[in-house]
């Protein structure tokens, strides 16, 4: 941690930004990934673009849901306390909301307005996921080899029924040899 680093300020920013974005993450955390990236890299300067790509990749290959990249972002921002604060800021407010809504869900689950809201938000949030995909590719791929790996996973994952996971292992090995 560099001089002048404001631990409490970082914790406050983590809690407010993460819980605020979680509460508007209709369709899951991937839909607010561009905003998380903007906060972590450009606004709060917790990490570089490359760090963001690395942490996202580490969360993808670790046990647990992929949204737990937030734990790693919190760790980078404010250490172990930051990791815990970010994880809970993500899960607790949205869980309380789920807790409240489940009790009244049966009353409006077939309501016209409820389904219109759900349907209407889908195309908007798919646009956000598309923006997140561009940001991730930009942050991850700085060489032709890296673009080739991204394309290989994308093609195998979309056009074939083979799991693209073995490409992860090959990619890590090829990268470790200094070829990416």
């Amino acid at each position: 941690m560099h001089a002048g680093y404001d631990f409490w300020g970082a914790l406050y920013a983590l809690f407010t930004r993460v819980s605020g974005l979680a509460l508007i993450s209709f369709g899951g955390v991937n839909t607010v990934l561009p905003a998380l990236h903007h906060q972590a890299v450009n606004e709060q300067h917790w990490m570089t673009d490359r760090d963001f790509a690395n942490l996202f990749a580490l969360a993808s290959v670790s046990p647990g849901p992929n949204f737990m990249v937030l734990t790693l972002i919190g760790f980078k921002a404010a250490g172990i306390v930051g990791a815990i604060v970010a994880t809970f800021a993500l899960c607790i407010p949205t869980s309380l909301l789920a807790f409240a809504v489940v009790k009244v869900w049966d009353r409006f689950k077939t309501a016209h307005w409820r389904m219109a809201i759900q349907e209407g938000l889908v195309p908007v949030t798919v646009g956000f996921v598309a923006a997140a995909a561009v940001l991730l590719v930009r942050a991850s791929d700085n060489s032709i080899a890296a673009y080739a790996i991204t394309a290989a996973v994308a093609i195998v994952g979309t056009l074939t029924r083979f799991s693209p996971l073995w490409i992860f292992a090959i990619s890590a090995i090829v990268g470790a040899l200094g070829l990416v």
Binding site: V32, P63, S95
Partner: protein, 198 residues
Amino acid sequence: MTSWARQPPAFALVEAPGTPNVPTTREIFFTFFRITMLAFGGAIAWVHRGLVVDRKWLTEREFAETLSLCQFLPGPNITNFAVVVGMRFRGVRGAVAALAALIVPPMFILIGIGVLYERIAHVAAVRGALNGLSAAAAGLFVVLLVNLLRSLARSRPAVNLPIAAASFAAVLSGVFSIPLALIALGPISIAVAWFRRR
């Protein structure tokens, strides 16, 4: 979006059915612990396998209805799912057990990975391996996007694809933040969905 959402309700989410399949809090905890440890590339598929196929705590129909609620709510679908399923079987204790099992063990694993990252990310071979992994993870995210676009293209693409393109351009260009884009484009898109459902 989904056809079953228009069907009449078949059961109440908050009431456990009178079957012998009501799990204990402990069983809820260990089932969600197993799900989170196996979850790789889309945790909801593992929830389906764990709760519907293996444990038979939910029927296919109940799973689909619960997922509909979880997708309606903001936040990760899987944590919402844990809260709803935990509540349904064992009230607040069940919800806390399911949520804790889901996030606390991976949180400690990721903290360990974070500590390692700070220590060894500068080593050339590690940095290289991370470059390779990042490129692959970005590819997997593209797969997820393509799947979303495919299902969007199946339901009224003439309306949905331009809206998605507008929100993509607004956010990527930095002209709109995500909250602003939701406020600007959300009501338009919801109004379109409202009128075409009538």
